[in-house]
Symmetry: none
């Protein structure tokens, strides 16, 4: 069943608001086997909405609209769509009561224009709004299912979860099963090359790759009616993918690399300390996104200046002067000293030039040294990242997690997916 | 001049990727006086792209497309648009050289399918990609301006800023002048209440408020042909806004609060050290987003565990045992000791419960103590934030920057906007 999403709101067209609604709806529809083929955004303008809705009605089975249901003058979504279907409006008493209750509960003063929200096209269903005042609208007409949802994300998502999705789920007899593999330390074209034979003959399951910062997501998706059959087909593909990518696959459940590394540390009762220069706390902050990580992550230092590298990490003044703060020698001293200061099982250090200034021909912007000390050994990796300051910091942090993971795998033989 | 944006990418339709490109382009076009009337997203499907592009060509003057320029099989944007205009393809030798250089520089292995990216429609211009490999395309045909940009946000934005916007800016005769005021430490409804009289009689300039995490943005925008007249009108509004919000306004140039605080430190030659528990490096990482911050930000500690608080910050064992790690006493010792250890002008400490576990009735999730030591005085603020773990961490970091800013303003009288 083909779905189309139309978002209404001038604030979306001016870029003042990031459109997260369309992402939310698309994700949930796709996961349940619906194809979203078009997403359109327009302003609070009845003519353009008429025009877009007419196009949508001609090519889709289900049209979901968000925005323009509020009490103000420029909220005209409901009127425009009712007009399209030639449905008159009628005030809905249940919705008037709901709204009065809502205003009482929050001690808000109710203005007259609020009642406009309770006018419902005759023949349509009102959808209760559990988190705000504007009810949604559900229209079934001319073989088309139309849902009008409010624009505020919390109201929209509640209505979508509680009303829209349960209705739509009943209509689909098709099963959609997806499996995900996140690959690190390989570029997208390399990943695609590795499975080119599968990609070029894909049908059911389909196979797709998505590049993300410092990682690539592979998704295989099978459609059909028999779960056992679909899973058998997916198993065949999965075994090929696991064999070809081996340890490059860091998760099969779409976790982020930092979460996977955090869980690996916790599962294995390993402790970690970090000393960051050019990433300036990004690695520490990505680790502490994880609840309970204090059992593993014991100490983080941001030794952004040379003074801090000497004072906190006892990096040799001579090393800093002769080799420079951005050098494999400094990276090595940083993580070796940190390991003994902290008493942790693992210590990592990052030092580099995030830019935009500070680069030289010999040490250009994007040059980063990462050190990782494990139980017995210590390795230093020289990297060169492109992008702006923030991208370089993020790529360096991502690469550090790749290297921590490698070290954990070296230490502990048994690899399982997180 | 009417603009339309078409984003191509199946990952956008499935909700696997949030569409930030459309927001970026829309924001910059609107700011410069262009009307974005439609945003459309479709998958990697040539027929649907043909169909959408035909509709766009019939109703817009400028069409900007993103995505589908990469090296893989399903990247078909360029071919589809060239087909629409009946333009043949030709390999562009300059782009081949660019690409080889790029691959050499980063020591990547180049696969054959990469060269497809260097095929440019005859009569179109290739736009250099300064951050990746796929060149953009610029077509002027049949009264229509068409720009094809790559999907990865960093590549897209660089190309848009360096090539597309300078060309479009030359074409516009309507002036749009906006001014921005970012307000901290006040909620959105409080901000709106304070300027309700201006909001309810708005016309030209228009006035709007947007809530963001821990801050509110006020925008006033005037349209017309005479810059002097527009600026005079905006001046009137600005003086009212500045008077009513005073020090709550932290920037008039849409910088983020961490950037403003970083610049205030650098301008005043003040140094800062941080010790973070529940924010786990987030404050350090937000500071080091700023180029050149090493002159001001000298040392960051992530003392996530009690051991680290004792070892690195000499927090009294008794304090930790009797008052707990999350207490005003611990926050005070953390920042007072940090100030003397680091020798910095300012020291901040954060300790709290980010959740989801670890809360008690007396010390619930979201309880955070923030300490700031200045030249002579030290204050500790007790806060209570709601939201999930990540939101609590982000709100705590934002509040810490509010408090650092306050301390800097206390120290140095002369306040100017950054």
């Amino acid at each position: 069943m083909n779905c189309e999403i139309i978002c209404i709101g001038t604030e979306l067209l001016t870029g003042d608001t990031l459109n997260t609604n369309v992402n939310y709806i698309s994700k949930h529809l796709s996961k349940n086997g619906f194809s979203v083929l078009y997403q359109t955004t327009i302003g609070d303008n009845p003519e353009r909405l008429q025009q877009c809705f007419k196009i949508a009605a001609g090519r889709s089975d289900i049209v979901i609209l968000t925005g323009g249901l509020g009490p103000t003058q420029d909220d005209l979504t409901k009127e425009t769509i009712a007009d399209f279907f030639s449905m008159p409006m009628k005030r809905n008493e249940k919705q008037v009561r709901n709204m009065k209750n809502h205003f009482d509960r929050y001690n808000y003063v109710m203005t007259d224009n609020n009642f406009r929200q309770c006018d419902i096209p005759v023949g349509a269903k009102a959808i209760d709004n559990t988190r705000g005042t504007a009810p949604g609208i559900h229209i079934e007409k001319e073989g088309l299912s139309v849902f009008l949802l409010p624009g505020p994300p919390s109201e929209m998502s509640a209505m979508f979860d509680l009303y829209v999705m349960p209705i739509l789920k009943n209509r689909i007899d098709q099963l959609v099963i997806s499996r995900y593999f996140n690959v690190c330390d390989l570029g997208e074209s390399m990943v695609e090359d590795t499975i080119m034979d599968l990609v070029s003959h894909q049908n059911n399951p389909t196979i797709a790759t998505y590049a993300k910062l410092g990682e690539v997501l592979i998704r295989i998706t099978a459609n059909g009616k028999d779960a056992k059959q679909l899973n058998e087909r997916l198993d065949q593909y999965e075994s090929v993918i696991l064999k070809r990518f081996g340890d490059h696959i860091f998760t099969k459940s779409q976790r982020s690399l930092n979460q996977v590394v955090g869980k690996m540390l916790l599962d294995r009762h390993l402790t970690l300390a970090s000393a960051e220069s050019c990433t300036g706390g990004l690695i520490a902050s990505k680790l502490t996104e994880i609840a309970g990580i204090s059992d593993a992550f014991k100490m983080g230092l941001v030794t952004y200046s040379n003074e801090a590298k000497e004072k906190m990490l006892h990096v040799n003044k001579m090393t800093l002067e002769k080799k420079g703060a951005v050098s494999s020698e400094t990276a090595r001293e940083m993580c070796e000293h940190l390991k003994s200061i902290s008493g942790c099982d693992l210590a990592v250090s990052v030092t580099g030039i995030a830019g935009p200034d500070g680069g030289t021909p010999k040490k250009p912007v994007g040059l980063v040294y990462i050190g990782v000390c494990g139980k017995n050994e210590c390795y230093i990796e020289k990297c060169r990242f492109n992008g702006n300051r923030q991208t370089i910091q993020q790529k360096a942090a991502q690469k550090t997690f790749v290297l921590i993971r490698k070290m954990i795998l070296d230490i502990s033989e048994n690899h399982k997916y997180n």
